[in-house]
Symmetry: C2
Amino acid sequence: MREILLSDVDDIARGAAILGAGGGGDPYIGKLLAEVAIERHGPVPSVDIDEVPPDAVVVPVSTMGAPTVGTEKLPSGHEATAALRALERVMGKQATHLVPIEIGGVNSVIPIAAAAETGLPLVDGDAMGRAFPEAHMVLPSLIGVSCTPMVIVDDKGNTTVLDTVDNRWAERLARSVCIEAGCSVFTADTVLTGEQLRAGLVAGTMTLAHRLGRAVRLSPEPVATASALLDGHLLITGKVVDVDRATTGGFARGHARVEGIGGHRGSRLTLSFQNEHLVAERDGEVVTSTPDLICVLDNETGQPVTTEGLRYGNRVAVLGVPCDSRWTTREGLRLTGPRAFGYDHDYRPITAVPNSLGSKSLGDKR
Amino acid sequence: MREILLSDVDDIARGAAILGAGGGGDPYIGKLLAEVAIERHGPVPSVDIDEVPPDAVVVPVSTMGAPTVGTEKLPSGHEATAALRALERVMGKQATHLVPIEIGGVNSVIPIAAAAETGLPLVDGDAMGRAFPEAHMVLPSLIGVSCTPMVIVDDKGNTTVLDTVDNRWAERLARSVCIEAGCSVFTADTVLTGEQLRAGLVAGTMTLAHRLGRAVRLSPEPVATASALLDGHLLITGKVVDVDRATTGGFARGHARVEGIGGHRGSRLTLSFQNEHLVAERDGEVVTSTPDLICVLDNETGQPVTTEGLRYGNRVAVLGVPCDSRWTTREGLRLTGPRAFGYDHDYRPITAVPNSLGSKSLGDKR
């Protein structure tokens, strides 16, 4: 992908929402913003990690908050650029590139809008290879890159600049500001040099999102196609029979129960989420856990179902998708494994169902 | 007062804690910091408002939080200066003077410590003429001066810079950061030019605090002396029989009941506070309300009793003291009157008890 055209945005949004593991926010509004920005300013140049000069100043721009709020509290479209400009003033230098902080609904399209608006090229990658709910859960944390200076801009026009002793404190203070400002803000933070991109990003995820979104749109068997592209493992196909969701502590948290249909009748999958899906238990057993991706797709269309979009009656296929391998190192798991979210168990590799759709093996992945 | 000597600090702290209307934080720790700083760096030059050149950059430095926490979570002594230096970097200019944001225990001695440490002169005045619990409740709000840029520094070393659309948002975001950081932080904010001091400050309050603290220490009748100096009205002398206090929303909030003794036997006074005393009701009737000062003194020694220091059995004299007249204007009352704190009644002038100690009239003050 050399540039992102108006016609690409829809596919990228769809693919990114699948890769967002239920989180990253509903991409609909962000997609509109990106489309308007490209219409107005032209296509967005996309560059590979390897093309970025070592001294480049690469700035992730994103939204932060509870996606349940993000779908109701609409941005003006200029918040991301406002956050970027404020960060540039704090750094005393200009951004040379933008990049998504995560692959996930709105947070993969907002950087497209900001890139179109500012004329900056967008790096093809992201700092998670999925979406995680908290600001310090990024690969740059593993290589000692600070999330701060972090700029937070809200819809009122308030700007907050954080400079913290570690990335966990950046998350804590940013979350408190985010909650007070109404649970949906824009941020610019975790600046990387070109030299740090290889270790600090997952390469090519915007291209992957584009390919995935396009394939799902065109395929006669979208779930199988998505699963094959992602090396995914089917956890269940079923019907959502219960959703228990609350917006607390600045996140959309809750559980959903899926009852198996077709070949999976009799099975039951419970999803636990904090913005993103974190743990999937099938018939009482953990079959996928963070940092691996739990992706919920509409069983007919392959469309991503985000955690705030889950509804009673949804017919879904749930896939377990292996995360970037850096997350399953000891340091990676300390940051994003089940215990980092308060679960009382260790990370467990994905356990597919027998006759798993699009999966090569029937057993454990790793 | 031309300069603040080591020997002055104790009297200033005592006087300021009386003028703090129960709030501003216990001055004990701040007093030690100021004494150490003066011992190390020498006396602090004190300048009158009229002596400050119009283009001066006058910076208030203070603590923010719940005084219940401030007495347990000790500062290193360099936080105020760290906040000042960070603010200077944000402003792109250097402070020429420091000033207390309020007259109240710790917040009147911390600026002395910072002035000694930085060598900057301290302006004789403050932005409230008392202490109020919230950041936007300052005279500069009445003349359109912004509280931001506001720098918040915590004990961990985290720095937050706020730039908000109004002063109420500065308070809201700062309070959320303050709470997350542990309810006791240091701030530098609400910068004034020399030209703005007359409208933005109450003049001479550090000198007043010094005189008051000294008089109370030396007088054989300290409560009567304090009352005379402050044009105060005695609300009750009595014994604290109940204190109901919680640290919630970042403040020390609660109620205290005082049962009359001596000539006031049979009367009962209820104090409501949010860091500072806000409303005093005697026998069911409001007898003093914010923005007037409600000052609780030890009935024997005249020592100030802060809201976090109130204990069952304290023998106290409670004074109603008229606030700076700008607070009882319509704009002033909108910002700091009873309704600004959620009380369902308007401001009521002070109603002293008959035979009021040190008060010239027996009835209403205004």
